[in-house]
């Protein structure tokens, strides 16, 4: 028998309190029916012997202490799942909004998921060729990795994400399915539309499952969105054996929703007002990437976040960087000088790269080329700061060479354009060619054998003048 409770005892922001209720469990889902027949979902966030605190996903607008009936569903928030979810569009709480009706569920899963047992994981090793030189060569994306894009408002992170989806080829294909799960948290309507249009144009829309919580949708629903998207992704990856690329944007909006919710609960704030559990909460999202034993599928995550005021030490990018396996940082100066994608390579990093490149994956010279490019570009920065003080004329010959290398590197290697798709061979050859503009003695991260094989200053001179 379903017990229904009439009325509420207290309403405070997105939270409502229900007294004299029985048999309510923590994290359970309840549906609140208003007098006009509309229904809202709520989740138990605190429970006492005779009292429960619920968080209403669609907001509490229009609720009063008397105009509601509440029924508890006896289970945590679950998402109905099926292979048919590809090609469909859902709202932030996982309900279809494309007018094609409910999906026929093969299974339902708790959207909070369970942590993957570390001994059941398979260490990710296969790289994903994105066709973007800066990423492929210097911060290689590995299947099963979580690699966020740290961006700022106005930068081309969306374009980059679309390009990755369009060009991403998974090396060693085995004819397996590849699909995209897209979770949008608090993004603008046109941004969501941009993604949809781009997916359509590139012909992948039928392989994309979209979960949309737009910026004017209820904030509390935003807390569910990444979890719904990842539950869908895990199902497709680990039960349907597909390779899933999950794009989550924008994690900063998500964290802000969490902050709003936390402060309405009256919790003690940590840094910048974010709740003390922000790290654990973000981890419960990001850690849902990887490969598990007994399944040939994988979940790869590319979360996108905009750094408020381009500040990488802001709690959201900071904590994200501690959880994810590297980061791709976009740079405003590069962007302003017309370089696309404006990847700032020095702070960018892929932690899984070292085991997924080299012979058998990309090419045996990959690591050495990447190390030397990083080291050389770091010296470019030194030369530039020196030049800004004493003027470029006064620089030593070596520093001048670095100045030249720096601008060539940005112009030809980083700057590649939205339409260009480079193979890993092209990328590495271009890297060596650029390094060949430097004096041979400066290449201290390369051994003699590789220098002999790849260093060709004449060819570089022909190409770059």
């Amino acid at each position: 028998m379903d017990i229904k409770y009439i009325g509420l005892s207290e309403i405070n922001g997105p939270l409502v309190v229900l007294e004299k209720c029985k048999d309510v469990s923590y994290d359970e889902i309840a549906s609140i029916t208003l007098n006009d027949g509309t229904q809202r979902l709520a989740r138990v966030v605190e429970v006492y012997e005779d009292k429960a605190v619920l968080q209403v996903f669609e907001g509490t607008k229009g609720l009063s202490l008397t105009n509601t009936t509440t029924a508890f569903e006896g289970r945590p928030m679950e998402l109905p799942l099926s292979g048919e979810m590809l090609g469909r569009i859902f709202n932030g709480a996982g309900r279809p909004i494309d007018g094609l009706g409910d999906i026929v569920a093969e299974k339902s899963r708790d959207i909070n998921g369970s942590p993957i047992n570390p001994v059941s994981r398979v260490y990710p090793r296969n790289y994903i060729n994105t066709g973007i030189s800066s990423i492929d060569a210097l911060m290689t994306l590995i299947r099963g990795q979580k690699l966020p894009i740290f961006s700022g408002s106005g930068l081309s992170h969306n374009k980059l994400a679309v390009q990755i989806v369009r060009q991403a080829k998974i090396a060693d294909e085995n004819g397996q399915d590849f699909a995209v799960v897209f979770g949008a948290m608090g993004v603008k309507n046109d941004v969501a539309d941009y993604f949809r249009r781009c997916f359509e144009e590139t012909g992948v829309l039928s392989r994309v499952s979209m979960f949309l919580n737009l910026s004017n949708d209820p904030i509390i629903e935003r807390i569910l969105t990444p979890r719904c998207a990842l539950t869908c992704a895990e199902y497709l990856a680990f039960e349907k054996n597909m390779h899933i690329l999950v794009i989550l944007t924008d994690m900063t909006s998500y964290a802000e929703a969490l902050r709003e919710f936390s402060s309405s609960k009256g919790e003690i704030p940590g840094r910048k007002g974010y709740p003390g559990y922000l790290y654990s909460d973000l981890a419960s999202i990001y850690e849902r990437a990887g490969i598990v034993k007994g399944s040939s599928g994988s979940v790869t995550q590319i979360p996108i976040l905009t750094m408020p005021n381009d500040d990488i030490t802001h709690p959201v990018p900071d904590l994200t960087g501690y959880i994810t396996e590297g980061q791709i940082v976009l740079d405003r100066t590069l962007d302003q000088s017309g370089i696309y994608p404006g990847v700032s390579i020095l702070p960018s990093l892929s932690r899984l790269m070292k085991d997924g490149i080299g012979e058998g994956y990309t090419r045996e010279d990959h690591q050495m080329c990447a190390n030397q490019l990083f080291a050389a570009y770091a010296k470019v920065q030194d030369a530039r700061s020196l030049a800004s003080v004493i003027g470029e004329e006064e620089l030593s010959a070596a520093d001048k060479a670095y100045m030249k290398f720096g601008s060539l590197f940005e112009e030809h290697f980083i700057n590649q354009g939205f339409e260009t798709n480079r193979s890993i061979e092209e990328t590495l050859d271009l890297g060596w060619l650029l390094l060949s503009t430097l004096p041979k003695s400066e290449l201290d991260r390369v051994d003699d054998e590789h220098l002999g094989k790849y260093y060709d200053s004449e060819k570089a001179a022909v190409r770059f003048g």
Partner: protein, 588 residues
Amino acid sequence: MTTDKIYSINGPVVTVRDSVSFSMQEMVYVGNKRLIAEVIRVSAKETTIQVYEGTTGLKPGEPVFGTGAPMSALLGPGILDNMYDGIERPLKKLEEISGAFIGDGAEVSSLDTQKKYNVTMTVKTGDKLSAGDIYCTCPETALIVHKCMLSPLSRGGEVIWTAEDGGYTVNDVVCKVKDELGRVEELTLCQRWPIRTPRPCAQRLPMSRPLITGQRVIDTIAPIAKGGTAAIPGGFGTGKTMTQHQLAKWCDADIIVYIGCGERGNEMTQVLEEFAELIDPHTNRPLTDRTTMIANTSNMPVAAREASIYTGITLAEYYRDMGYHIAIMADSTSRWAEALREISGRLEEMPAEEGFPAYLPSRISEFYERAGYVKTLNGKEGSVTIIGAVSPQGSDFSEPVTQNTKRFVRCFWALDKALAYARHYPAINWMSSYSEYTDELAGYYSANVSADFMEVRQQISNILATENSLMEIVKLMGTDVLPDDQKLLIETARVVRVGFLQQNAYHKDDTYVPLEKQYLMMKTILEYYELSKQALAKGVDAGKIMSNGFSEKLIKIKYDIPNDKPELFEQYSRQMAEWYSSAASEVV
């Protein structure tokens, strides 16, 4: 049957009303699923319990069962070569029970109860035993002999019965001891110990032996002693985990306890895979034979993350009592501090700095104070060395966890973002790192490596320090304005930085470098510096000296001279001596 029922649930915090049956830090089982939990606050009206597993689906009114004992770790053979979660549940067993995703309420024994160990009794009837004494041994892995000891709290007494040598499981009784009052204690291969209580020792000894890591910047610039404490702070991407992995792989401890506290799942998998393949240079056995891992990844329950640090150190102390040298890698203590903050927030305690509870410093010091070089109760020498990674928020070393850690550790290896960006690894900044152990260890280095080791080390440090101050000028004006002797110093410092401090973890020789080679490398670099200085004084052209190619040769020396051929260094000395004497003779 219990009458205690759950009153409220808020995340991992559960309360029970009007109960007097619980004691502080008692381990309890919560709810019908019997989730593992610990009592953290007791009052007449309300008992607060922190649950180590997910509380989704838990209802008020469900029962709470007391165990009467504090949260304890089960200690016995089978710990090594295993991987546990934060409350000592073996992850492989959990995988068998609930598959790739960890379920709730799974009760499993920490040790394999079926496996038989080949036990050799070391006592006989009539022997007198006291707390901490060893009564039997068994090979645990190919490397480590497990020694079963009386609990430190045992009353001891006279052995009245022993089993025959042979195969026994951890729960079989192998020995009986009768104390003065005639009470009989039955001894199995295992014992329990509360994780938050340090295991006692007979005496703390001074630390005079280094933990040799084979990492040049650590062993020479900021060495750590066996039984010492070190912190590795660094923002993300600076190589904390990489440094910890290198230390775990190569340091000369007998046993490694690796605590992955709130870190990445894939990283733990990597450790697991890599350690099984890697061969320990000291013993020629896979590293897993001497390693135990605690993996409580960032998405596993936060309360268990808080406990994982204590579980790890309890395991370490247990092996220390057998007379082994243990190194603990805790990655990362900041996540542990955040777990404290999170739970403190749920308890609505008054926050101090940045939302951290006011007891943060005392918790950090309690943890690091459990390290030490000791004489155990049974008269052996053992040590626990703690190396804790710190992940400062926003890479800002002035935040509370880094600052408080700095107060309680004696070795500080500061990782530097600028070095990491330039891919200078290990990115340990030689200027801001320090070790308070250098004086205590000087004797060891002089006796075992070379009498002038400390002097050579000091000269290298001086070169780096002088370079650091010269760099201020160079940044503004370039190197051209400097006089020749300072140019030479800058060049020598570059050789030290690139050739000596920078170390390639992926190179077969360079990943671990014995102390002798470290010393010879420094010595050869200093020789180059001295010869060049003398040549300058004799009037040899500075440009000629700088371009003589020796600096490049010295930078590559780490790859060119294999670890087992130190005699090759002489060739370099000879070549340099020849070049400089002929250069000097050419000066008119």
